[in-house]
Amino acid sequence: MNVTLTVNGETRSAEVPPETTLLVFLREYLNLTGAKTGCDIGDCGACTVILDGKAVNACLMLAAQADGRDVITIEGLATREGLHPLQKVFEETGALQCGFCGPGVILSAKALLDENPAPSKQEIRNALAGNLCRCTGYVKMIDGIQEVAETMRSVPTPALPAASKGEQKHG
């Protein structure tokens, strides 16, 4: 069957068997391998992408269910101007080590900040509850996300082109 969706602002489509998950669609058909396969049953969050503004586990969703919808993957976060502030802060604080959980964590955090620009530590922890990390633990991520939230609030204009684009589409 044909699946057509908007990925990182571009229309992408492929012929896939109906049992294809969104995760396999992204990784195998579009070669967007930033979303990872960690458990394939929704436990680890390594496959997290943003679908119409919400963080979802791409392994738990069929590609067909995403047909016609808007997906942001980690590959779509950086812009010509540079890395997204979350990417930058994860790099600078050493919040990632092996990096396998990172794309999912960063996208969960982005979905949170898009919805709630001033989350408390507890709100961040809850929003990231579905993202397991085994290397670095979590304190650096939480601190980094809070730092980004503060910076983004103090910089009013479009520090976040990807986010504003996303909002236009499904707003």
Binding site: Q97, F100, N131
Partner: protein, 732 residues
């Protein structure tokens, strides 16, 4: 380079790049999702097919027939290879379970077939059509039931390690403790499952895989497949976590190779999470008896640590007694291990094998002993510090500041505010407790090589088969080369994880950082000599700084000195310093917990680790290592346990919903302090490992904090609330 004498002053001591908290150089690739892990190597070969592994449905016995007709006829299927199609294959030197071949089943989910198809879904659907008939045999799966008759298993030559006369000293001691502690089977839970892309080119095999030890694994692949090692290439530049679970090649690598051969195509195989848990390795459970005798002043006079664990035939024990030989003073000592035969999946290394579960037990025992003596547990540990190997008093520690870790930790953590009387501090509904434990893990030395090239632009390229499993190897190797050759990090390229590169120490046993950078140091020394020779300078009085070679008034840009390019290869090898000195790393772990007085729910509030681990090559990545290890220690203390089905012989909770690891909401404030030190006896880098140290002792610090909070002593891990709820003090 042979390292035979303690390091003197060398270029690393400038610490212009080494020792600085620089960002990981692989950071941008990882935050943008462009670092390529094994399962996404679309780039290495076109036309990749997908393999799915089928695991055995029994734990012990024989597979008699495997009906693959339906699978072969299923849509998209290219090949099916079963374990009955090939004789039993070889196995890696450090493994006990066979990965494939032959009819014998040694453990549940041992691989019996691989199905290769055009798509992953087709391979998975066809795999479900395979029917196997087994003749099961009764296996042994219950460690507690086997422990009573498990034979002694010596460590080296002696079945039991003895110093002095333990029994007499223990009987004479005025204060004694005799307790048994248990730790469960645990799973590594690296977030990336084992995965491999296999490509044959004639009789040459390349595996793009996820692996910690490239040289070991190249040899293991050759042994398993019965082919010459020089025909095997193993590549693993990015690894999504390992923790010991990827020290060895596993079924994904072997079956990708066999599947690719059968299909005549490149084949990609990933293990599913259940297969990661039952098909690969795990940390074996332990039953540990600890006896301590002390004088009333707190001096330990007798200490015994006996541990029983299980494994497959040919397997080795979990060396949970190792640290007890070295951590505390005490004239009379007895250390022993017993190994039960079990038919569970293979027990093998997981982060800090031995010390991790050993410290979980020993450091509760020390807490109990301190209480029996009426001593503060920090003070009791300090009183029993030793600066020499207790079994060989002429053999000092190369550097040991456990006392400093404990003192500074106590000060920073506010230890003096702790009420030694358990269950006496309340914060609303919460019972509050503080706990401490020592951390201890040995520093292992192993040879490691690298090649360093300098081009005419002054760019330095380091190549070594060292892996970066998240630990920061790329970055600290770049820092080492930059320091040695006087260039900025932007002038250094690091290439890792390829068996075509010089063999390194690899990543394991927290030995990677010190040994791999020491190997790069050695190669850089040789390159400096080559530069000097080329310029006709005396290698002993030249300096490398700011991208230039300097000698007296002469300054030559490095690129110019390189001409058409210079290359040097060397490695570090060690003399007798590891024999002459005991080399270890130390920590003080401090934890505050809150236990709900009504429900028994335990919440961590604060964690602090103070580490004495030689020179810290990069405080940022080292801190990440320790914080991650503390988090794993929290899991070990409070939730992690593979539950054994003792009738059918497998780990039941074989997914990440059933095997719980800490999540964001479990982890509160964590801090790490590194004591400012350098250990010139460890290597020219004067560094030691930190990645496993951060785990060792954490679990006991949490257990001790729970005791301080509640007055309930739990000696069986994990400390879930059902183990103590009925013993909680009645809420006031």
């Amino acid at each position: 380079m042979k390292f035979e004498h303690p390091a003197g002053l060398n270029p690393i001591d400038r610490l212009t790049v080494v020792g600085r908290p620089v960002d990981r150089i692989d950071g941008p690739l990882k935050t943008t999702g462009t670092a390529l892990y094994a399962h996404e190597r679309h780039d290495v070969a076109p036309n990749q097919a997908y393999g799915v592994v089928v695991g055995a449905a029994i734990a012990r016995g024989r597979v008699e027939t495997i009906d693959v007709r339906a699978a072969r006829a299923a849509p998209g299927v290219l090949a099916v290879v079963t374990t009955l199609d090939v004789p039993r294959l070889g196995r890696g030197r450090m493994n006990y379970a066979y990965l494939f071949g032959g009819a014998e089943i040694q453990h549940y989910h041992q691989a019996i077939a691989v199905v290769v198809a055009e798509t992953f879904e087709q391979a998975r659907a066809a795999a479900a059509l395979i029917r196997a008939d087994y003749t099961p045999e009764q296996g042994r799966f219950d460690l507690a039931a086997e422990a009573g008759h498990a034979p002694l298993h010596g460590d080296g030559d002696e079945p039991v390690h003895r110093v002095g006369d333990f029994e007499t000293a223990f009987a004479a001691a005025p204060v004694t403790l005799d307790r048994t502690y248990t730790t469960p089977d645990q799973s590594h839970v690296m977030i990336e499952p084992h995965a491999t892309v296999a490509v044959w080119d004639g009789d040459r095999l390349t595996l793009w895989t996820s692996n910690q030890m490239i040289a070991w694994s190249k040899k293991a692949v050759a042994d398993i497949l019965g082919m010459p090692a020089e025909k095997v290439r193993v590549v693993s530049p990015y690894v999504g976590g390992g923790f010991g679970g990827k020290l060895f090649v596993r079924a994904d690598a072997v079956l990708a190779a066999l599947g690719a051969k059968a299909a005549g195509r490149p084949v990609r195989v990933a293990l599913t999470r259940p297969l990661v848990i039952n098909n690969t390795t795990h940390r074996p459970a332990t039953i540990q008896r600890i006896r301590i005798g002390a004088e009333r002043d707190g001096r330990i006079t007798a200490i015994a640590h006996e541990s029983t664990s299980g494994n497959l035939p040919d397997g080795s024990p979990e060396t949970a007694v190792a640290q007890t030989k070295l951590l505390y003073a005490g004239a009379a000592r007895m250390i022993a291990m017993r190994l039960a035969r079990l038919d569970l999946p293979e027990g093998n290394a997981m982060r800090a094998p031995g010390e991790a579960p050993g410290m979980m037990a020993l450091e509760i025992a020390i807490d109990e002993m301190a209480e029996a003596l009426g001593l503060d547990p920090v003070e009791f540990r300090i009183r029993n510090d030793t600066q020499v190997d207790p079994a060989h008093p002429g053999r000092p520690f190369s550097y040991r500041d456990l006392v400093g870790c404990l003192r500074l930790g106590a000060e920073r953590f506010g230890w003096s505010a702790r009420d030694p009387k358990p269950a006496s501090v309340r914060d609303g509904r919460w019972l509050i407790g503080l706990g401490v434990a020592a951390g201890f893990r040995n520093n292992l030395l192993t040879k490691s090589s690298a090649r360093v090239e300098l081009d005419r632009h002054g760019v330095v390229t380091v190549s070594t088969d060292m892996t970066d499993i998240g630990t920061g190897s790329y970055t600290i190797i770049a820092q080492t080369a930059a320091e040695m050759l006087g260039v900025g990090l932007e002038k250094v390229v690091v290439r890792l994880g390829d068996s075509d590169f010089p063999a390194s120490a690899g990543s394991g046993g927290q030995w990677g950082a010190n040994n791999a950078t020491a190997g790069v140091y050695a190669a850089c020394v040789r390159l400096r000599d080559a530069v000097a020779r080329k310029l006709g300078l005396n290698a002993t009085d030249i300096d490398f700084a700011d991208g230039e070679v300097m000698s007296g008034d002469r300054r030559v840009p490095l690129g110019e000195a390189a001409g058409e390019g210079l290359s040097a290869e060397d490695g570090i090898e060690y003399g007798s310093l590891a024999k002459d000195y005991q080399q270890s790393t130390f920590a003080g772990h401090f934890v505050e917990v809150a236990v709900d007085a009504h429900t028994g729910e335990t919440r961590l509030r604060r964690m602090l680790a103070v580490c004495s681990a030689g020179r810290i090559l990069n405080p940022k990545s080292a801190r990440s290592q320790v914080i991650g290890a503390m988090t794993m220690g929290a899991g070990a203390a409070l939730m992690e346990k593979l539950s054994v089905d003792t009738r059918r012989g497998f780990f039941v909770n074989h997914d990440l919903a059933g095997y719980e690891v800490p999540v964001h909401a479990d982890i509160p404030h964590q801090e790490v302090i590194f004591l400012d030190e350098a250990d010139p006896i460890s290597s020219p880098m004067k560094a030691k490992g930190v990645g496993e140290l951060g785990l060792c002792g954490v679990g006991a610090a949490i257990a001790n904090a729970i005791y301080n909070a509640t007055g309930v002593r739990v000696r069986d891990y994990p400390i879930t609330l059902d183990t103590y709820l009925d013993r909680l003090p009645r809420p006031a």
